[in-house]
């Protein structure tokens, strides 16, 4: 699970083709994505200043990223002043080692976990298991995934690929092996299933001594961490245990307390399409007799600095994991989350995973092709990440090679001509073209809206965005792009990139 590649994962087109053949999955996904998408549009329309909030969110993140070293050091000081301890992890292995060591030091062999993509990315549960520590997922969807020996398929609703009947069967068969068994005669009504989960998990919350979480935001100025959730399982894990360990990607820092006013407006509306999610917890170090008495923050790199080194690709680090881009993506809707082969599915996964992990594996080399470049993801993104631009940039990286940073070192990637990526591209294209109407509509949308957005920040912001003032690659329809890059370059042979294999 090193670097978080799902073991034995086929490249995107193969996985997608399989998913497209699964009609239950497609129907579930279609229902889910369309429901959330429509609700989101209404929630966003309530805020007359949405565009300005979006621009502010983008600039806060860009500003933080360009001074990331300074803000991380400030965060560290603030957290330690408030009674927490900060650890730094350059990669998954180091993070897992730190966390396992912290848990072992408590003498405990079980931990309760809040849903966290960072800990999934590093394969923490498996690493703890190897150390004899059992990690219980406590988010209902994550519980379904964990009990079902499954993988999450959506950022927000990880078990969206499961029907209520399947969930009932999983609870009946698996709950007893993990703790309190499912009640006798459990039916498949959502209320009964939720009640079964409540009872099963409550037993764990009330005896838990160690909690593990991620965070949606970290405030450098105050040392405050923020977790946004719906169910209350997060509050349980952040409040009842004696020791709290939070594993958070370094890109989650924001400079000031005040910055939360932007993201606490844009995140819930983009994500669950609600005015506000049911629960938000904020904690600053430790507080006497209220919540955990010991707090550890593990700051995680694991490919983020490599992503930061890429002038076009670094904007992916602005992502606040709202999942809006998944719900509008015609390719995600049909291929499903598993096809992306990482914890980050959909359009954001297609640009984030190949940057965090490099494009050395077949799945990662194929991910930049997992898109029709319709631009809908960019439209909805609350921090204005130009996903199509990064996709095209990464395609060129795969096909033409070039300079990149891996594990903190500059490397030169060889072009991957005639390599799996091209075959992948052909198949991905076939997938997108299976419904040409949707693709054409998407392309029109992209070229129409693209003109409404300035290509570069005005004034002094220009230096930062100058690298994004590129030729109009993203508006180029996929077919044209394919013609051009395939007909272009003269590379030959089966050269793989110079990167390590499947890092």
């Amino acid at each position: 699970m090193s670097g978080g590649t799902f073991v034995g994962m086929p490249a995107f087109p193969a996985a997608a083709r399989e998913a497209v053949g699964n009609t239950t999955l497609r129907a579930n996904l279609r229902h889910a994505t369309h429901t959330i998408r429509d609700k989101r549009a209404r929630a966003v329309a309530e805020l007359s200043d949405w565009d300005r909030l979006r621009e502010a969110g983008k600039r806060i993140k860009d500003h933080t990223l360009r001074h990331l070293d300074r803000y991380l050091v400030q965060l560290e000081e603030s957290v330690e002043r408030a009674g927490g301890t900060v650890h730094w992890a350059a990669d998954a292995e180091e993070a897992n080692r730190i966390v396992a060591g912290l848990v072992r030091a408590t003498g405990e062999t079980e931990v309760v976990k809040v849903k966290s993509m960072a800990t999934q990315e590093i394969g923490l549960n498996e690493a703890l298991e190897a150390e004899g520590i059992r990690a219980y997922e406590t988010d209902l969807a994550e519980l379904i995934v964990q009990l079902g020996h499954d993988r999450p398929s959506h950022i927000l609703v990880p078990a969206i690929h499961r029907n209520r009947g399947e969930i009932r069967d999983i609870f009946r068969e698996e709950m007893a092996g993990w703790g309190r068994p499912a009640p006798d005669g459990l039916t498949d009504t959502p209320a009964e299933l939720a009640e079964a989960a409540r009872l099963h998990l409550r037993e764990k919350f009330l005896r838990a001594k160690v909690g593990i979480s991620g965070a949606n935001f970290m405030v450098a100025e105050t040392g405050t961490l923020v977790v946004v959730e719906s169910e209350g399982n997060g509050r349980m894990c952040l409040t009842l245990p004696e020791t709290l360990i939070s594993v958070v990607g370094i890109e989650k820092v924001v400079p000031a307390w005040r910055d939360l006013e932007v993201f606490l407006q844009t995140l819930p509306r983009s994500s669950t399409a609600e005015r506000m999610n049911p629960y938000t917890s904020m904690w600053t170090g430790t507080t006497d007799e209220d919540g955990p008495s010991t707090f550890h923050l593990v700051l995680l790199d694991n490919g983020r600095t490599d992503t930061l080194a890429d002038e076009v690709g670094r904007q992916a680090l602005r992502c606040i994991r709202c999942s809006a881009c998944l719900n509008v993506c015609p390719v995600y809707e049909r291929a499903g989350g598993h096809a992306y082969g990482s914890v980050y599915p959909g359009p954001i996964g297609a640009i984030l995973s190949p940057q965090l992990r490099g494009t050395g594996s077949e799945i990662d080399a194929s991910l930049p092709y997992a898109s029709s470049l319709c631009g809908a993801c960019y439209e909805v993104c609350p921090v204005a990440i130009d996903i199509p631009e990064v996709l095209v940039h990464l395609r060129e990286r795969v096909v033409q090679g070039g300079e990149a940073t891996r594990g903190g070192n500059r490397v030169t990637l060889k072009p991957a001509k005639g390599h799996a990526a091209e075959r992948a591209a052909m198949r991905a294209a076939g997938l997108a073209f299976a419904r040409p109407g949707a693709l054409r509509a998407g392309q029109r949308l992209a070229s129409r809206t693209r003109r409404l957005h300035p290509r570069a920040l005005p004034g002094p912001g220009r230096a930062w965005s100058a690298t994004r003032d590129l030729p109009e690659v993203p508006v180029e329809p996929f077919r044209d792009w394919w013609q051009r890059t395939r007909g272009g370059g003269g590379g030959s042979g089966d050269d793989r990139t110079t990167e390590g294999n499947g890092r």
Binding site: V219, G232, R235, R258, E261, P278, G408
Partner: protein, 215 residues
């Protein structure tokens, strides 16, 4: 090399292309967004809070300061609550002399003990009208985070209009980041099973908010 040096070194190398003379934070971020959405009187803001709380399936009541003890009694009676968990310092006139047994949260009380009480009563730090949110900050009339989490029934008294703000930006201005903060918008909910909303997976399944005027 420590993990810290390695990560910070990588960050600095990754940013080698970025000009050093970047904009200061204050200039880098345009705060041209709204401080609140729409113009409302204090009364209308309270109405909007009530509407949005109800929209998220909290049960909303209104009363004056004189009526609060009676209203609380009625809420407990309707629910059949025999025990009520209370934070260290509630305003003395809120709870009536008779009624359910009052349980005090003590550092030594275990989560299992909290799990056995029927209801919890608290005040709040601030309430946000546009989002239908109450925020608790652990002050003496709100108590520790866990008391509003484990019991199944939470009654929260909001002083109106004094504790009500219109928007998220206005709420953050009033809050102290050093305190442990819990923002609550409607009862606990999940949509994980076929996107059907189900109330209360873990937190209290019933949230009643008392908007108390004359304060």
């Amino acid at each position: 090399m420590s993990g810290r040096d390695r990560v910070l070194g990588r960050v600095r190398r990754a940013l080698a292309d970025v000009p050093a003379d970047g904009l200061a934070y204050e200039q880098a971020v345009d705060r041209g967004y709204a401080r609140e959405h729409g113009e409302r009187t204090a009364e209308e803001t309270v109405d909007l809070l009530a509407e949005n709380l109800a929209d998220y399936r909290a049960i909303v009541h209104r009363c004056t300061e004189d009526e609060v003890a009676g209203l609380l009694m009625r809420l407990y009676a309707e629910r059949g609550s025999r025990t009520v968990l209370v934070p260290p310092e509630l305003p003395p006139h809120w709870p009536a002399a008779v009624g359910p047994v009052r349980i005090h949260d003590r550092a030594v009380s275990t989560p299992h003990e909290l799990d056995r009480v029927d209801s919890v009563l608290t005040g709040c730090a601030v309430a946000i009208a546009e989002t239908g949110t109450i925020v608790l900050d652990g002050s003496p009339d709100q108590g520790r985070r866990r008391i509003t989490l484990v019991p199944d029934h939470h009654v929260c008294v909001v002083r109106v209009p004094g504790q009500v703000v219109a928007s998220v930006p206005q709420a953050l201005e009033r809050l102290d980041p050093a305190r442990p903060l819990t923002w609550i918008s409607g009862p606990s909910a999940t949509s994980d099973i076929e996107l059907d909303r189900v109330e209360g997976v873990h937190g209290p399944r019933t949230l009643e908010v008392v908007l108390m005027s004359g304060a």
